[in-house]
């Protein structure tokens, strides 16, 4: 392990009774990285962060912050961290100033240094107007700012932020992200969020967790490319509208088009999208490697149909996120016993996804193997 690794997690597991909140989570965060920690609700983001901040202990596995074990050197770990828990739980009866003063005292910051830091932090977090207000009077957005200020007051080399933007309005979010870029230059930041736009604008790297496991870990581009698929949107005219039908013969039936599209080489999956009755619209999943737009056009024109729309979507982070974590949501909507592969913990991630959707199997292959191929 090089000295540059600021956060190191190896095989972290956490059980609450029979519920497995974390299952063999491993990752590293290096100095100066801003890493987005993504996952649906209940995927284990907060649990991981709580382990890293020494609030709870893992059932098994080790975690180190700045080379110090979270279990054995907990005070050293905690003093080099700035942590903002979810929903920023603060002492409501204190004023903002009192709270910051309290945090500084606990961190052993003397008065003169505190004044200096407080000025800095207040400016950064936009708290100048609310310093003398009681925290209970503040809106959630402002409480979150205070939470952030508290995490920065000792100028920590590592920041762990659990959904820092959840209560901010769009302007505040934008400002916060700008700020994050600034502090990310000389600090290590691990930030959890559901908001993929934020990750795209602030982080160079993301770790996606789902059901307590890391399902993707890598630079954003790698994650985007991870599914290895491209989506095409195709619309074919179905009935004669206001303008004359320019195709040859009768307009096609929905099943004809679908069959024809499925027959093309390189097409993996065809799904109809909802449209009005003038057109059929399909989303086609294809391979990353070859472009089948030409084939689609040729096929449609050979049949004498009218092609209204054809475009190629590269994967957004959002798509990948959905594909990787969709099982979670399905599980929530399914009553009765769920086929659980929790005993297959030693096997590859992909086994876990198989039962949810057969076509999803490659997506969950670890990113490392993809890296090797390219």
């Amino acid at each position: 392990m090089s000295t540059d690794v600021m956060i190191y997690a190896n095989g972290l597991s956490k059980r609450y009774g029979s519920f497995r909140a974390l299952d063999d989570v491993s990752f590293e965060v290096r100095r100066g990285e801003v890493v987005g920690f993504l996952g649906p609700n209940g995927a284990g983001k907060s649990t991981t962060m709580r382990i890293l901040t020494c609030f709870i202990a893992p059932t098994s596995g080790t975690a180190k912050v700045r080379g110090q074990d979270v279990f054995d050197d907990t005070l050293a770990v905690r003093s080099s961290l700035g942590y903002l828990p979810q929903r920023a739980p603060l002492y409501l009866e204190m004023t903002v100033y009192e709270y910051l003063r309290f945090a500084a005292k606990v961190r052993n910051i003397d008065d003169s240094l505190f004044k200096q830091r407080a000025r800095n932090v207040v400016e950064v977090c936009g708290l100048a107007q609310s310093l003398s207000k009681e925290i209970r009077q503040l809106s959630h957005g402002y409480r979150q700012r205070v939470g952030l200020a508290q995490a920065l007051i000792h100028d920590p080399p590592i920041l762990i932020l659990d959904e820092p933007t959840s209560d901010l309005d769009p302007n505040e979010k934008a400002e916060f992200l700008n700020y994050l870029k600034q502090i990310g230059k000389d600090r290590t930041v691990l930030l959890s969020t559901h908001n993929l736009k934020e990750v795209e604008s602030a982080c160079a790297r993301a770790i996606i967790v789902s059901r307590g496991r890391v399902v993707a870990d890598g630079a954003l581009d790698e994650i985007r490319a991870k599914s290895g698929r491209v989506r095409y949107i195709v619309s074919v005219q179905e009935s004669i509208g206001a303008s004359a039908y320019r195709g040859t013969g009768a307009p096609p039936k929905q099943s004809d088009v679908e069959r024809a599209l499925s027959g093309l080489k390189g097409v993996k999956k065809v799904a109809e999208l909802p449209t009005d009755d003038r057109a059929h619209q399909y989303a086609i999943d294809g391979d990353d490697g070859d472009d089948i737009r030409a084939d689609i056009f040729r096929m449609v024109s050979d049949k004498g149909w009218v092609l209204l729309e054809l475009h190629r979507d590269t994967q957004t982070l959002e798509d990948v996120f959905r594909q990787l974590t969709i099982g979670d949501e399905r599980r929530n909507r399914q009553l009765g016993p769920v086929a659980e592969t929790s005993n297959a913990s030693d096997e590859d991630d992909s086994d876990d996804e198989d039962e949810d959707d057969d076509s999803d199997d490659e997506e969950t292959a670890p990113i490392e193997s993809k890296r090797g191929k390219r």
Partner: protein, 308 residues
Amino acid sequence: MNSETIEKDSKKKLLAAGQAAEAAREAGHDEDSEESHESSAEPMTSASHGEKAILHRPSSASMVWTLAQREIQANLNSAITYIVIAASLVVVGLYFFFYKGGFWQVDRASMARMFDSIPFALCFLTVPLFTMRSLADEKRVGTIELLITMPVKDSEVILGKFIGSLAMVALQIALLAAYPIVMFSRAPFWHLGELDWSPFWVGMLGLLLLSMAGTAIGVMWSSFTESQILSYFATMLTLVALYAIGSVSIVEFLQGWPGDAISFVSLQSRFEPFARGLIDSRAVIYFLSLTTLGLVVAFRSLESRKWS
């Protein structure tokens, strides 16, 4: 990982030198010179990478005091504190002066009667009310997470909470000293005669010891639950039970060794010598052990969050 570390050991020194320069630069422009000295010295000992240097922690005593201070401030900020103190003063005052003839019936310049009622009032009202918030509320609101992820030891949290709550109970007890001062000191007050002050102060000491034990038990119950109400009732029932089993009629009814056993653990029989002006060393040890027990259990309970 280990083999890598060994391989890179020579590289590490180079890196360390680079880090030293970087750290010094970093520290130079936004921190005072003392810290820059500290952090530039740190990477030289690459084995204990920043072990000492980054431990920005005050001494345990001042940490506990910081936490206790926060607790006291929070209590002084809340209306409940004033209501509790005022209500107990009124109730205890009424009992002292008027219940069944009260103080006047005794016909002596003695405050002994005061120590009949106050321990019960402490057990029933003051101690449970001042301890119910301590950990339960932090757990309910979630502030405990922020507190504990600061570089604070669990034991310091418990001690801080204990001292914070005890300070409020002690404030209440100290206000009771107003009675004898108003009654027996010279002008401009009543001046009912000469009071033998020593037994009074011994009684106050007894009250303080009793409150320590009670507060520790209160903090303990508060560490078990997220609900203040639950914490209040659990503490109140525990203390009132410990107090009431020592009442003369129960002890006499049981006779023999069961009676002795009960009076051994009862707060009431343990407090009784203090009310008469005796400092009973066995009672002192009893109260202190009870305090320690409560705090240790609370500490374990706080620690148990890690495993649950």
